[in-house]
Symmetry: C2
Subunit: 216 residues, 2 copies
DNA sequence: ATGATAAATTGCAGTTACTGCAATTTATCG
DNA sequence: CGATAAATTGCAGTAACTGCAATTTATCAT
């Protein structure tokens, strides 16, 4: 196991430049719009060479959206798994909210990020794409959670498929809530989404019996 | 109104080269994989200059995935709107199936396309992205259809939101079904998705009453 | 058929994102 | 302080894509 006791001047500097680059990127996008910002502009604003830029971030998008851990927050996951609340959706959204626009760093940056993401369709697209990396994990977590509340006669296979399906549904829901809160009434966060979803799905599905678990 | 009575040698040639390019693209991807195929390769295989390539297709992806009309098939839409089947999901999937991998052209190409798309995650991503253009339309169609079956006391606003939500959900469902039919049992197309969805959503939502339309 | 006209094809140069490699700077540690 | 390894950088190159000006090619009136 490689130790990581002391922060070290080196690491500190590295973290600093990473932050500088991200801030420059977000700032420039705020000022000029996503399209108009080039990597060279970000480099100039950050005082690093283009090559160094790409040492820090694999893509331009990553610098703007933040490196962001491709993992769910452990503590939240545990809470979610332990929770007995029937409102799964809220739990899931909460789970994702932590990592969506936030990295591990400062608040202002995260807020700015959130702003430009929800204001720029192209960026929202990318952000949701970026989030896809988490779905694998979400699927697993979901499976664990679903198994608890699943009836005994339900084959694990089905529960698994359901987890996968729900995980796939999440980006859409996310996108929808973002879109809603962006256009029209910017007041309430994602209140009512569940009701909406409930109503919508009752119409979507053939019979949707409320007490029977399909055992075809 | 600009007339389009005669096909014209010109238009014919144009359609031909478009097809040639698409076929070359798909063929090359089949042979070398998506990553390894460059625009220049496609151009060489099609006997056109790179500039011409980009006159026909805005992006490399478009050549591989097909230009595909960003619109739903009129006839199908009408059928869908007229239908009384409670199985909305099936209807929607059917609606989308027509345009998903198919353009207006030949079968073999469409089949090959379908193959490489479902085999290449990156391409599936792009394909679903490409489909997003249709969601606006789908949302509208959905609204029209939903309004019919909606209870009288439901505000149109809510129906509208529901349509939007469902439209956003579709890519996820599509992705799921593709994933399912790709891995594991390649037998049945998208059978059981509805049951799965029903089960999953009963768990997703808080109470999900089966007779009441939420009127918060 | 023939030449004028407009459209399509092409070449060329340029921009932007991104990569590999080799050289140089810089932090770290004995 | 000097050796070592890591980070930064420059440079050259690839690949997608765009604009513009020149050229080819289909179309159409004569």
């Amino acid at each position: 196991m490689t130790d990581q006791r002391e922060p070290g001047l080196r690491q500190r500097k590295q973290a600093a430049t990473a932050l500088t680059i991200e801030r420059s990127a977000v700032g420039l996008v705020q000022e000029h719009g996503f399209q108009a910002v080039t990597v060279d502009m970000i480099c100039a604003a950050s005082g690093v060479s283009q090559r160094t830029f790409f040492n820090y971030f694999k893509t331009k998008d990553q610098a703007i959206l933040g490196a962001g851990p491709g993992r769910l927050d452990e503590r939240r996951v545990r809470e979610f798994l332990a929770s007995d609340s029937p409102d799964l959706l809220a739990g899931i959204l909460d789970l994702l909210a932590t990592l969506a626009p936030v990295g591990t760093e400062d608040r202002a940056l995260a807020a700015d990020r959130m702003g430009i993401i929800s204001r720029t369709p192209a960026l929202m697209q990318k952000e949701i794409e970026r989030l896809s990396d988490v779905y694998e994990e979400l699927k697993e977590v979901l499976y664990l959670r679903l198994r608890r509340s699943a009836p005994a006669n339900e084959p694990p296979e089905e529960t698994r498929a359901q987890s996968a399906l729900i995980a796939h549904l999440i980006p859409g829901i996310l996108r929808f809530t973002l879109e809603q809160q962006n256009s029209g009434n910017p007041g309430h966060p994602h209140a009512g989404t569940e009701q909406l979803l409930a109503g919508a799905l009752q119409k979507l599905l053939p019979a949707a019996p409320a007490g029977e678990t399909a055992a075809t």
